[in-house]
C-alpha cells in the first residue's frame, strides 16, 4: 500500500487555516468579553444614577423642600421642612457621590464632568421661580451632576428636577451661599 501522508505544503496550509480560524475565534471571544464588561458597567452606572435620583426625589416629595445651602465645592445641603438636612456631595477624585449616609462609586470608565463656570465644582444647580397662579407649582429646582463615559463620551447625568410652590415653603430662596463653605 502506498502511504502518501501529508506533505510539508499541506501541513503548512492547514496550519495557516487553523491559525486564521483560531485568531478569528480569539478575537470574537475578546470582543465578547469587552461587551460583557461594557454591559456590566452600563448596569452599574444605571444603578448609581437610579439610586441617587430615587433617594433625593423621594425625600423632596415626602419631606418637602425648605431650601438648599451651598456647603462648598460640589456640596449642597438640602434642608427639608422638618428642618432635617441631607448633604449631597461629589468627590471627583474618589469618583463617589454621597447623599446622606449613602455613597455610590462610579464604575471604571466613567467620570464626573466639572462645571465649566467653576472647574472645582461638579454639581450645577439653579432654581427658577415664575409668576404662576396661586396653588400651582411656581419653582423648578434643578440639581445636575454631569457624568460622562471615557470611551464614547456619552452622557449619563444625574438630573434632579423638582417642582414646588415656594409660596408654601416660607419663601426661602434656594442656594444660599454658606459662609463656611465657598467654592473657589
Amino acid at each position: 500500500m502506498k502511504n502518501l501522508g501529508f506533505s510539508t505544503i499541506e501541513l503548512l496550509v492547514s496550519f495557516v487555516i487553523i491559525s486564521l480560524i483560531a485568531l478569528a475565534m480569539f478575537k470574537t471571544v475578546i470582543d465578547l468579553t469587552d461587551q460583557i464588561d461594557q454591559y456590566e458597567k452600563m448596569s452599574e452606572i444605571a444603578i448609581v444614577r437610579g439610586t441617587v435620583l430615587n433617594d433625593v426625589k423621594k425625600d423632596l416629595i415626602q419631606r418637602k423642600i425648605y431650601g438648599v445651602n451651598i456647603c462648598g465645592c460640589s456640596c449642597l445641603d438640602i434642608v427639608f421642612q422638618d428642618l432635617n438636612v441631607k448633604r449631597l456631595i461629589v468627590n471627583s477624585e474618589e469618583k463617589t457621590i454621597k447623599y446622606g449616609n449613602k455613597a455610590e462609586r462610579l464604575p471604571d470608565g466613567y467620570y464626573f464632568l466639572n462645571n465649566l463656570m467653576n472647574i472645582n465644582d461638579f454639581i450645577t444647580y439653579k432654581s427658577t421661580t415664575l409668576a404662576m397662579p396661586v396653588l400651582k407649582y411656581n419653582t423648578i429646582l434643578n440639581i445636575k451632576v454631569a457624568i460622562r463615559n471615557l470611551k464614547d463620551n456619552n452622557t449619563y447625568d444625574i438630573n434632579i428636577i423638582h417642582q414646588y410652590d415656594n409660596r408654601q415653603t416660607g419663601y426661602l430662596p434656594a442656594f444660599i451661599q454658606n459662609n463656611t463653605g465657598t467654592c473657589d
Binding site: 500500500m1 444605571a46 444614577r49 400651582k136 438630573n159 428636577i161
Partner: protein
C-alpha cells in the same frame, strides 16, 4: 490486497470544515451583534431618570389639566406638544428645558396607527423604534406621554 486511494480528499475536506466553521462564526457574530444592539437600545428606554422626568411632566399635567389635549386627539392619534402653550409664564418651557427633553408627545394609548403612518406624524427613526418596543396590553388605559431626551434616551408613561 485492496488498494486504498487516499488522494483528492484533503482539500475538499478542509474547505468543507473551514466553510462550516466560518458559517458558525458569522452566525454567532451576527446574533451577538443583534443582541448587543438591542441591549444598547433597551438600556436607553425607560431609565429611572426618564421615568422621573415623565412623572414630573405628569404632575404638571395634573395641575394644568389636559382636557384640551384630549379633544385635540380626536383628529390626530399623536400630538407633538414640545412647544404647546399650557401657560403664559414660560413655566412649561422651562420645565422642558430643565428636563433636557428633546421631543414630547401626547398620544392615544394604542399607538399602532402612529406606527403604521409614522411619516404622516413626523416620527423619526429613533422614536419609531421606541414606539415599536411599547406593549399595548392594558385596554383600560387611555393616553400616553412619550418623550425623547437630548442624551438619546426615551420614556413613556401611561395616563388613565
Amino acid at each position: 490486497m485492496k488498494k486504498i486511494n487516499n488522494q483528492g480528499f484533503f482539500l475538499i475536506e478542509t474547505i468543507a470544515i473551514v466553510g462550516i466553521v466560518i458559517t458558525i462564526l458569522v452566525m454567532l457574530y451576527s446574533q451577538i451583534s443583534i443582541t448587543q444592539k438591542n441591549y444598547q437600545l433597551n438600556s436607553k428606554y425607560n431609565t429611572s431618570e426618564t421615568i422621573h422626568a415623565a412623572k414630573t411632566i405628569q404632575e404638571y399635567f395634573n395641575q394644568e389639566g389636559i382636557t384640551s389635549l384630549i379633544s385635540d386627539l380626536s383628529t390626530n392619534p399623536i400630538l407633538d406638544i414640545t412647544s404647546y402653550e399650557f401657560d403664559t409664564t414660560g413655566y412649561y418651557e422651562q420645565l422642558i428645558d430643565d428636563l433636557d427633553i428633546n421631543k414630547i408627545y401626547f398620544s392615544v394609548y394604542d399607538i399602532s396607527p402612529v406606527i403604521n403612518n409614522y411619516i404622516t406624524y413626523n416620527i423619526d427613526s429613533g422614536m419609531l423604534r421606541f414606539l415599536r418596543s411599547l406593549r399595548v396590553s392594558d385596554t383600560s388605559s387611555s393616553y400616553r406621554i412619550i418623550m425623547s431626551f437630548s442624551n438619546g434616551e426615551y420614556s413613556s408613561l401611561i395616563l388613565n
